[in-house]
Structure formats: C-alpha cells, structure tokens
C-alpha cells in the first residue's frame, strides 16, 4: 500500500485579479521508503503541492484527496492535522537561515518540535536535540545546541533543519529545494545526509527541486511538473533516458553536458497561472506543437517508455527517448522533416 497518495489535488489562491490556479489536478503515489523527485521550473506548483500536503498554504482553496497512511489529510480537522505535522511528516525548506527562528537557539527549536508531540520534560528534550545534532553530523553537538542559527554556516543550518524534521522519526520527509540555497560542495553532503537518514529511519522522501542533477542522484521515481500539472512521470531511469514529453526533453537538454556542449535553454516563459492558455500550457514554447495542442489540453496517459510511464502530450506514445528514432516519430507526427 502506498504511503502518500494525492488524487486530483487542486489548489488555487484568491487574488484581486481572479483565482490563481497553482495546482490543477495533481495525482501521485509514493510508497514507504521510496524517493520521489518532483521537478519543474519556479511557479510550476512543486512547492504548493508540498505545502498542501501539510495544509500550510495559507488562504488557499484546496480540493481533491491527500491520502497519507490510510487517512485523508484534507478531511482532518486542524488539531488532527497538527498531530501529523512534524511527527509523521517532517519537512525541510529551501533557505535554512530564514526557516529557523532567529531569536531561539537551535537546541530549543529542535526540542520544541519534540515537545509539540511528546510529553517529555525540557531537559530530556534538550538531550534528544543534542543527540539529533550529532546524528546529522554537527560537531560538538552539546555545545552547539545553545547556539543561534546565525552562528552556523549554511550547510550546518540545513543539517539543523534536517535534525528537526526527523526528530520524531516521521514516515515521510518532504524536502523542498533542500540544496538550492547551498554551495555546490555542501549540496552533495546534504543529499548524502538525506539518503542516510532515509535508510536509517526507513522514511519515504518527497524531494522537490528544479535541479535534475539532484533528482538523478537520489530519486527512484520522477515527476515533472509544468504550470500546475504533472506532465510526465516515470521511474528515474526512464525519465532520464526515454522521456516522452517535450518539456522533459527540454529540461534535459538545458543541463550542462559532459563535453562542454552548448546549453539549450527552453525559450519563453511559463504561462500566467491567472490566465491559462487554451490547450496544452507548454504548447507556446514547444518545438513539436501541432494544431491539436492549441485546442485541447492533453491528458496524462501511459506511454511505451517503461512501466508506469505516463506523459501529458499528444505526440505518439512511441516517441520516447532522445535518440534519432524517437526524433523521427516526433517529426512525422508534426509533419516536419527530421534533421
């Protein structure tokens, strides 16, 4: 049975210019102990989805189903949901400096997470906080527990955030761009730490990032999001080697190549979430756009790339991969000569 199951999750924010549709019907499943990488540009709805799971989107209108460990989080009352937050689902955010309270010591902030769910004394909670700091690799944890967040380096702060997130051995860890604000060398250390914690605690990890390299390193499955929808989902290997959706292709092509190839950025901007264009939202930026694309938004359908490989694109289901064969199928579909 899957641990997390989002079904047709939609989130919109009221604004003076009308509703902003941040998420438009997102479904996903995540099994215990597995890692799902969610990829997409800024504004694609990745973070909104993560926050929606914990009910942390303030002022949002949320519909659909958020199944977690046998219960629907959307139908839980605020008090019951609060019991899930932090204890069964831990979360780390992008910027560890702004995510930690500047006025309290890190030990106290970790202890607070423990005491929010367990009836333990201040001293015991503090001892556990120090143990957790040791677990995430902070030297001299007993002493550092009394330091304030601004007295730590960026990487150390993210370790503190992780210590806080896993303090109660949650079943699911949501990591929202956990390495984006960090130096490249520190990024790898944090990813390794996340994977180690995942192994030790048997957690499932929902990893949200715009960095395909990060996903390639740790994710079992990949979900690509665009304009509030899932456009492609597959296991990690399929997503990288036999992608179907032109947006996934574009993301892969915009990665730095091994031999100093030129980067190929995706032209244009994502559409406004206020006024979504008709048809496929990616169609204005798509090299393979057809008449049909501008008329109807493609549903997320199974393609022949691999097991549980799904893509929201009108291109033939056999047009998977980055090779010439796939390119020929795509070219034929849009009536263009393959080059």
């Amino acid at each position: 049975m899957s641990l997390l199951e989002l079904a047709d999750l939609a989130v919109s924010f009221p604004s003076p210019d009308g509703a902003v549709h941040a998420l438009r019907g997102v479904s996903l499943t995540l099994d215990p102990g597995r890692t799902l990488g969610v990829v997409g540009e800024s504004g694609s709805g990745k973070s909104t989805a993560a926050l929606a799971i914990l009910g942390l989107n303030r002022g949002a209108r949320v519909s659909g189903r958020i199944g977690f460990d046998g219960q629907d989080l959307l139908s839980l009352g605020e008090d019951r949901l609060r019991e899930v937050r932090g204890s069964q689902i831990g979360m780390v955010f992008q910027d560890p400096l702004s995510s930690l309270h500047p006025y309290y010591t890190v030990g106290r902030q970790i202890a607070e997470a423990i005491r929010a769910h367990e009836d333990v004394g201040a001293k015991a909670a503090r001892r556990r906080a120090a143990d957790l700091l040791r677990l995430v690799g902070i030297p001299e944890p007993e002493r550092r527990a009394d330091d304030y967040p601004h007295e730590f380096s960026g990487g150390m702060r993210q370790r503190v955030m992780l210590a806080m997130a896993v303090a109660l051995r949650p079943k699911l860890l949501i990591a929202d761009e956990p390495t984006t604000a960090l130096d490249a060398t520190v990024q790898a250390q944090i990813l390794e730490l996340i994977m180690r914690l995942q192994r030790e605690y048997g957690m499932a990890v929902l990893l949200i990032t715009h960095d395909l390299g990060v996903v390639a390193a740790v994710a079992d499955e990949v979900m690509v999001m665009y304009a509030g929808r899932v456009v492609e989902s597959a296991d990690s290997h399929t997503a990288f080697h036999r992608p179907h959706h032109p947006y996934t292709l574009g993301l892969l092509a915009s990665l730095p190549g091994p031999r100093g190839q030129r980067l190929r950025p995706i032209p244009g901007q994502p559409p406004s979430l206020l006024r979504m264009p008709d048809g496929c939202p990616f169609q204005p930026r798509c090299d393979y756009a057809m008449h049909q694309c501008a008329a109807t938004e493609p549903p997320l359908l199974t393609v022949t790339g691999g097991p549980a490989h799904r893509s929201a694109c009108w291109l033939p289901s056999g047009a998977v991969g980055r090779d010439d064969g796939a390119e020929r199928i795509r070219a034929r579909a849009i009536g263009r000569k393959a080059s």
Partner: protein, 319 residues
C-alpha cells in the same frame, strides 16, 4: 555591553551639552527682556537695571554661560526668575506627576494597542480586523485636547450633575498620600493619552505581526506541528514586538519631558505645565532645566531601547 553603555553615555552628555548651548543661544537671540518684565511696566530705568544686575543679566553672555555651566556640573540649575526657588526643586516637585501620568498611560496603551493589533493580525480582512482598523483611524484622528475635554464633559461634568462623583475635574494627589485618590485623579488623563497611542500601537503591532507571520520560520513552526497559539505568540509576537519596543522607548522618553496638552486640560502640575508657565514668563533657568531634562529622557530612552533590542534579538551585538 558595558563599553556600549559607557560610549552611549558619553555621547548622551555631548548631546545634552549641545542642547544646553542651543537653548542658551536661542534665549539671547529672542527679543525680550526678563528684567523689564519682572520690574513691571511702571518701573524706572534704574529699577530695571538693578533687577538686571541681580539676575546677572548685565554680564557678558559668555560669562553667563560659563556660570550656568559651572552650576550645572554641580547639579545646580540656578534659581527661577520669578519665585526664587531653585530650578531643581521646581522640577523635582513635578517629576512624580509626569512620571505617574506617562507610565500609567503607557501601560494602558500598550495592553490595548498590542491586544487589538494581535486580534486584527490573526484574522486579517475579517469584520473584526476592519472594525479595529476603523477604531484605530478614529483614535489617530482625535486630538488629545478634544478627547480630554470630552472625557471631562461626560465623565466629570455630566456625572457630577447627575450626582455621581467618580472622576474629579482635575488636579493631582500624590500616590504616597492617597493611592486611590491618585488613581482617581489620573484615570481620565491616562485614558486621554492612551487612546491616541493605543491606536498607533495597534496599527504597528498589526503590520509587524502580519509581516512576521508570513516569515519562513513561522511556516517552519507550523510544519513542526506547534499549536497555532504558540506559533502566534512564541514565534510571531516575540519577533513582531521589536518595532513596538522601539516606539515605546521613544514615546515614553518624549512624554516624560512633559505631556503638555493633557497636563493643561486636566490641570495636572507636571513638567508640561511648568514648561508652559516658564515659557510665558520667560523664566530662562526653568526653561533650560526642563529642556535639558526632556533631552536627557529622550537620550536615555534611546539607550534603553538599543539595549532592549539586543536582549530581544540575539543577532544584535552591542558594540
């Protein structure tokens, strides 16, 4: 910390000295003659000259200033031109009044203002929030003298006519003599001062708390499963109070120099009233004394605010 306080105190002395010079210079530039005023309109030039000599006003300005400065260093502000009492005595008599008025009012406006601000910020956009915002606007746009007079009319005059004497129409009773009478005399002045400030503090608290509640660390607290109550008070309000504390220091410091309007309306013998009196009678030593004291309060308030800032926020290191 000690170095910080020491440095600030030295700086404060410099400010006070500059203020004393400025007041002194202003007084000699202004077209007036205290000797003539004291001697009266019918006095002969000889009498006026005699008065002037007795006041030391016939000496060169620089000498007068040095004399004044010498006295100041010994805690001696000279004598009032009019009732020949030492300025320090005159001021000391009035400090308890102004202190009672200011601190009492500050407690009321702080409680009212912060509470209203928190209520509004927790439910932004609701009827409650809008209601508080409307009250804030009304409070901000009501001049204290009008409010004071209204209080007097309704709560003193009308009640008095109805045979109820809860609130006296003015005056002051020392706390040590009669605590109840002290509070009775001060309650209307307190409210008068507090209403306007409570409005400012409500707005300040609302804005500040709303901003803080949107911070990432508040989101983290919620993600930890901390109760909403704790999120608002422990994580939100503590950080949101920093600008409130700053404002409080400045306001209390300013009011301690004399709440002129409120003291006048309620006939409270405080520093503000003394200031008005001494300005109308051109009583230079008293004016200088009050101005110096007011400046001292403001400078001290600033030091206290900065020190409090460091206590509130561990990122602030006093250096």
């Amino acid at each position: 910390m000690y170095r910080f306080v020491l440095r600030r105190l030295v700086f404060a002395l410099l400010v006070l000295w500059l203020v004393s010079v400025a007041v002194f210079v202003l007084f000699f530039v202004a077209p007036h003659d205290p000797a003539r005023m004291i001697a009266g309109r019918l006095a002969t030039p000889e009498t006026v000259a005699l008065v002037r000599h007795r006041l030391g006003l016939d000496q060169p300005v620089l000498e007068q200033y040095l004399h004044f400065l010498g006295g100041l260093l010994h805690g001696d502000l000279g004598y009032s031109y009019y009732n020949s009492e030492p300025v320090t005595t005159l001021i000391a008599e009035r400090i308890p009044v102004t202190l009672s008025l200011t601190l009492g009012a500050a407690i009321i406006w702080l409680l009212l203002g912060v509470a209203a601000g928190v209520i509004a910020a927790r439910r932004p956009g609701t009827v409650l929030d809008r209601g508080i915002t409307a009250l804030v606007l009304a409070g901000l746009s009501t001049p204290p003298f009008l409010l004071g007079l209204l209080f007097l009319y309704v709560l003193f005059f009308r009640l008095h006519l109805a045979g109820v004497d809860w609130f006296p129409g003015g005056g002051y009773t020392p706390l040590t003599q009669d605590p109840l009478g002290w509070a009775q005399h001060l309650i209307l002045p307190w409210l008068t001062l507090a209403v306007v400030s409570a409005a400012t503090y409500a707005r300040l608290t609302r804005t500040s708390l709303l901003e803080v509640l949107g911070e990432d660390y508040v989101r983290t607290a919620r993600a930890k499963g901390v109760t909403e109550r704790r999120v608002v008070y422990r994580h939100g309000l503590r950080a949101a109070l920093t600008p409130v504390v700053t404002q409080l220091g400045i306001d209390v410091g300013t009011l301690l120099g004399g709440a002129i309007v409120t003291e006048s309306v309620f006939g409270l013998p405080g520093l503000g009233q003394l200031a008005v009196q001494s300005v109308t009678t051109q009583d230079l030593p008293v004016i200088i004394g009050i101005v110096l004291l007011a400046a001292l309060f403001i400078v001290l308030a600033n030091i206290v605010v900065d020190a409090g800032y460091a206590l509130l926020d561990p990122r602030v290191r006093l250096a």
